[in-house]
Amino acid sequence: MRPPFRWGRGRELSASWFAFFMNVPTLAFLGVVLAYPIGYAVYLSLHRVRLADLRRGVFAFAGWENYSRVLGDPLFWVAVKNTLIFTAVTVSSEIVLAVAIALLINQAGIWTSRITRSLILLPYAIPPIANGLIWTFLYSFQFGFLNRILLSTGLIHERINWAGNPDTALYAVAVPYVWRTLPFAIILVHAALQGIPRELYEQASVDGARAWHRFRHITLPMLRQILAVILVLRTAFAFSVFEEILAITQGGPGDATWVSAWYSYKITFAPPNNFGMGSASAFILALMVGLMAVVYMRTVYRRVTL
């Protein structure tokens, strides 16, 4: 039984009422600005909401029409395919690079490792949209920094159209994204490395285990859980990549870099402003990400300690 709540001087709040009052602001924010809009997005996705409807303020019920139009749109499937490729490429390279770089900066007695360690977090400080614009300069066909370096060192003789080639554009966007989000993965792996008992390695070197065997049989198994955390988190966030796409390719060339978040954004906020269809496509994206969230909460979040 919860004790009745009473106002009054000197009277202490019971623990459960105290917990409730402490959470009022959070509940209000989460309810009004997070839960309600998500519910409203579902409502919008089931109604006909175009710019004209928005001006009138009356939305006619449309049933599954928005969903069937989204699912019947070839461009939507191109966006889904690109999102999956982008996610697979960025997340897998991040995990490999994070383990390699975390081991590198963890080396004692290598003075250059200390320099690397002090710089690791730098990309985290760069605004994603600025990152996109910076790489637009690096990739520029005529004036770009990459072509300048490669031409002046004689590594290439013809300019390369890094972001303008439909076959490579998606990968050209993946590199800046990995550059910006890698610090997070490195930091988690590096923290997990500190938790591996030294004795394990000492025992192994007494037994004469080579470096690769130590990595394969001690380090990697001890990192498994933190790698699962990185896998789920980075997958969920790579699903909704937006800024680098906006800055570097705007979905182009053609539809080579249309991804899910870009699709929802363009359908909604570019003419003819179909808010209903945009909500439907955004909600499909949310479902994919929501699946990752449940996996994360149920399996990896509670088991790992650093």
Binding site: A15, F29, S113, T116, A125, I129, R148, S240
Partner: protein, 296 residues
């Protein structure tokens, strides 16, 4: 970790470090080199890596709202209108980021403390709701929020952006703070309560001072994320007076008249505050990022 002994292995490690350092610094060096040259110099030799000249005119023209054009913009017929709003945008970005940091820390610490201390079924549910909420893609929120804010007349206000960003970041703040409150021993508050403290004043006077490192870690991460946030202000605040720095930068995308020297200069100015923060508070950010990802 094992000490590396053989000279060959040491050389390999140095080379690997060099590659990583070059990879991290290359985009920033390129940005700097472009920002200190004129359009003419950048176009003069498109194979040249090192700067042909050194000029601060790109920064001057941005920082004087286009009034002091200097040598390289003397004859320029076009300057993007939004560049002239650089000061207003910096101010807007500062107001938004400081407010969001303050609000997320305030509400986040209240919630995280109760989640860590009071184990009820609903506080556990609240924790789970926050974990799921952290995954919500911004674009899913923005379409309904645009319509709601539009009907409330809250488009083109800083309040709308602050409220939206606070709600979006609050779950993450709670996830960063909760594991830390969990490590503070509960006996301290119990002792204070025996001395006549209320629960709330025990929280404010005993727990919060002990949690300063966690608040610093969480606060700097919140500031950085809200300083970087593009989609929320881009959709809610389209009028130049209410733009934040990322929105100004986004408005230069695809502007065929704007050349890289000016773009890189404005990017450099926009990334400077968070780079300084990250370099000064590295230790806290590392702790906060780790705490926010796992239960600790």
């Amino acid at each position: 970790m094992m000490r590396v002994k053989s000279p060959v292995a040491r050389l390999m490690f140095h080379l690997a470090n060099l590659m990583v350092i070059v990879f991290i610094l290359l985009p920033l060096v390129a940005t700097f080199i472009a920002s200190i040259q004129s359009e003419k110099a950048l176009q003069a030799d498109t194979r040249r890596v090192t700067p042909l000249e050194f000029t601060l005119d790109n920064f001057t023209v941005i920082l004087t709202k286009g009034e002091q054009r200097g040598r390289i913009f003397e004859q320029a017929t076009y300057l993007p209108e939004n560049i002239k709003h650089f000061y207003a945008a910096s101010l807007n970005s500062t107001i938004v980021s400081v407010s969001v940091t303050f609000l997320t820390l305030l509400f986040g610490s209240l919630s995280a403390y109760t989640i860590a201390r009071q184990r009820y079924r609903w506080t556990l549910f609240l924790l789970q709701a926050n974990i799921v909420a952290r995954f919500v893609p911004v674009i899913v929120l923005m379409i309904p929020l645009y319509i709601v804010m539009r009907s409330l007349g809250q488009l083109n206000t800083l309040t709308g952006v602050i409220v939206a960003e606070t709600a979006f970041l609050l779950p993450y703040a709670i996830l960063i703070l909760a594991p830390y409150f969990d490590t503070i021993p509960g006996e301290l508050e119990e002792a204070a309560r025996i001395d006549g403290c209320t629960r709330f004043s025990a929280f404010v006077h005993i727990v919060l001072p002990l949690a300063t490192p966690a608040l610093a870690a969480c606060g700097v991460i919140m500031f950085i994320i809200s300083w970087h946030e593009l989609l929320i202000p881009l959709i809610l605040n389209a009028r130049p007076d209410f733009m934040t720095l990322p929105v100004i930068i986004a408005s230069l995308v695809g502007d065929v008249h704007v050349f890289f020297n000016l773009m890189m200069a404005i990017c450099l100015l926009a990334l400077l505050p968070t780079v300084v923060l990250v370099m000064l508070l590295q230790k806290y950010i590392v702790e906060g990022l780790a705490a926010g990802a796992v239960k600790g």
